[in-house]
Assembly symmetry: D2
Homo-oligomer: 267 residues x 4
Amino acid sequence: MTQPTTQPNDLALFIDPRGNKHIHKLTPRGRLQTNHGEILFADIIGLPWGSQVQTHLGKTYLMVQPNLHDLLLNIRRAGTIMYPKDMGFILINMNIIHGVNVIEAGTGSGALAMMLALAVGSEGHVYSYDSRDDMQVLARRNLESIGLSNRVTFKCQDIAFGFDQSGVDALFLDLPNPEDYIPVVRAALRPGGFFGSLLPTTNQVSRLLEALQAHDFAFIEVCEILLRYYKPVPARLRPDDRLVAHTGFLVFARPIITGTSKPDQGE
Amino acid sequence: MTQPTTQPNDLALFIDPRGNKHIHKLTPRGRLQTNHGEILFADIIGLPWGSQVQTHLGKTYLMVQPNLHDLLLNIRRAGTIMYPKDMGFILINMNIIHGVNVIEAGTGSGALAMMLALAVGSEGHVYSYDSRDDMQVLARRNLESIGLSNRVTFKCQDIAFGFDQSGVDALFLDLPNPEDYIPVVRAALRPGGFFGSLLPTTNQVSRLLEALQAHDFAFIEVCEILLRYYKPVPARLRPDDRLVAHTGFLVFARPIITGTSKPDQGE
Amino acid sequence: MTQPTTQPNDLALFIDPRGNKHIHKLTPRGRLQTNHGEILFADIIGLPWGSQVQTHLGKTYLMVQPNLHDLLLNIRRAGTIMYPKDMGFILINMNIIHGVNVIEAGTGSGALAMMLALAVGSEGHVYSYDSRDDMQVLARRNLESIGLSNRVTFKCQDIAFGFDQSGVDALFLDLPNPEDYIPVVRAALRPGGFFGSLLPTTNQVSRLLEALQAHDFAFIEVCEILLRYYKPVPARLRPDDRLVAHTGFLVFARPIITGTSKPDQGE
Amino acid sequence: MTQPTTQPNDLALFIDPRGNKHIHKLTPRGRLQTNHGEILFADIIGLPWGSQVQTHLGKTYLMVQPNLHDLLLNIRRAGTIMYPKDMGFILINMNIIHGVNVIEAGTGSGALAMMLALAVGSEGHVYSYDSRDDMQVLARRNLESIGLSNRVTFKCQDIAFGFDQSGVDALFLDLPNPEDYIPVVRAALRPGGFFGSLLPTTNQVSRLLEALQAHDFAFIEVCEILLRYYKPVPARLRPDDRLVAHTGFLVFARPIITGTSKPDQGE
């Protein structure tokens, strides 16, 4: 089997001797510039992934393909961050699999849109709403950088007036006041579909829970995910001194059909 | 838009009034039997997802599509459990996206194989190794239940003699002694590919870290994911009294090519 | 040095082969009755602490002095529990040292009163308020069992009308609605003194924070303490599978004097 | 009741407008010097605790008595830190109450010695061992600053040769290699007494557990305490962004007497 090598315009992750990470697109005429010299991309296109490469001043960098985690944490950002630890759990809990249609609002920097676009595959679709034009320009650029912008339809409009879709499989609100939009969420989401939201404060969670209960949502869950890293030293294994103690509370729920269908009467 | 309804042989999640969950395949001649009466599947096939249905004795159940989380926690099991919280993070950190080829060992009940098969899509593939035949029979049945067994090749063989593949993108070991297989992992995994493992004890983690360092792996990370649920009561929001405090430590690493490629010489 | 031995009426902790703990007072005529025989206290008074003793049917128990942790978790209980992990931090954060005067309300089972009485020593004092007579009877009995009831004055009265003391060094409210009593807290606590409360829900915390801000409290802190146990097996060290995920949020604050004292004018 | 006021040579905690804390002894001729002016202690001695005081340039500071937490985190330090969250739990779990005799090694900066001296009261005693003279000079100064140096006997010697005391009630090792000293610990600690240690790495914990098991210790427990702070904003209550994720693992155990005392034979 041939070893995979870097191709023109691939995204590459460079790690310097201190462990800092830098993601760059390997444009044929581009270069990585550092305080300790530069690397011409033309020189390294075609090398195997996982190679160590040197600047013209002799500093060594490791060059590998970025993983999703790296991509998500390195995209151009504006506003708040959604962390990979939360996104992985969102995908599983909201059943974001090949072929599903999903709405998200707001778009933000497009980190979640990237993950959603990857997960829904070529047969699913993502509708991403944001009232701010500039954020969507940024998100679109981030999506294009990984070649997935065709799976996402950006909508620059206020969701107070509702979503343009109905019957979608999943809907995620990354907004400070999701409780204000639950009726329009219900109108867009199919019964039994998956609703989710990420909220920093307990007060927001309480308000959202009230709204969900008032609009016939069931399977309501609130959780948070803590990610604890360890120093990877075999003879002195121990947790890191500090950790990201809070990103947000995740709220999940599913709209149900009220009133009982009596199966023995065939409805 | 038409509302999605249950079709013959769909997997359905029934929730009883106490919140207990039951997953069943809606075979046309099947039935859900409970202490409080039964529901004939023939009566409920064709109802909208998200409906409430009643047993012939009048007990109400909610019927929705199971999400991945439900499927993963409800598959037939033998041996240890891999939790959705860990799987979501594994997918993101090991870059399990559409089209990748991935090896896992051991198969266990097939929970991780299910997730991997979903994530690699129709163009990727999963190779699942286990020395125990009975486990793979169980896992295959679990994969078939969600219609993804064609994406997984089961190998009932001892990995001490190596894997049959090389150049795969990712490789996950869910075994008590992963440190014994690092040379064969390196042979199967492409440089820059993604290695992962889940281990319950700190002693196992230390041994694996030693083996990874000895075989030119870089980007070594150790972490654990804690999932904390809250009681979803808006006026009395608080964490649950108890939580699953430990499933395992996640170890990630990537094989690199040693020796420096000097870009200024074009190599 | 002579080895310390059990004396009549000492409290002894017996641990059975399964690790279950039982605290008994070694009354000269008493006995420990188990499913596997009994131990007459007369037979074991005078043995060294740390001895293994047997029932008349040959079952072995370990006999040691109980520590505070054991005493606190084994006192007769009614209502909610205050955990040692929280109490230790309360003592340090509220400066409960030899000689201080402290108020607590409500008394509950007296667990916190026990800790406070131990910490304030012979020169400090504890005032414990509860509107329920039966709780104080229970708490008084618990205090007597460790010989510290003389350090605690029980007050069976409604604190809505205020406390009988003023200028105390510390005041702890273990009540569902501490926000209703902040003015009377301020009247009883000296400026710069220490206020604390333990609350299960986030909504209660928010209400208390509002009241504290409205009444010139400073140094307001909210925290929670998580205690994670590990299986103490050297070759397979790992966290316990489950943990007590929530007891309550601790809120601390100190009343300050508003208006500035200009030091250069000597006030 | 008269309001407590600052006395000459009291320790005072000054908090600046940004919340930074500064502890100073109110020597009659001393002063607090800041970037925004100074405060002469002579001007503020005699003011009530809890007062707000101003520098000669008009910057306001709050002046209160430090609590134990403040004192412990603000003592002059060399080497590693023991945190109040851990100390509170150590006191309760090791039964450090009025009148007990306790050994600690090593002394370090004396933070634990301070807590122990406070807890054992005037009738107990603390023996603090350290092979480094300079550390004990520092610790002694810290103890003197709170007037408790008479309750602590410092021993500058190597504990490999044993402790000078026997039959003590509790013994704490704050050393990297406690497993090397378990025989001398056993010789110094009374049967049923309390042993404790704080260790940063899992490997150290495993080694200590082995040594404890080999020397007839029972009630072996391993735990860690996580302290999570919240932003105390009533309308936006949420956990802090970051937390101290690891200080150390606490190990507790008690030496027992092996061989059974048969009570029915009077021993």
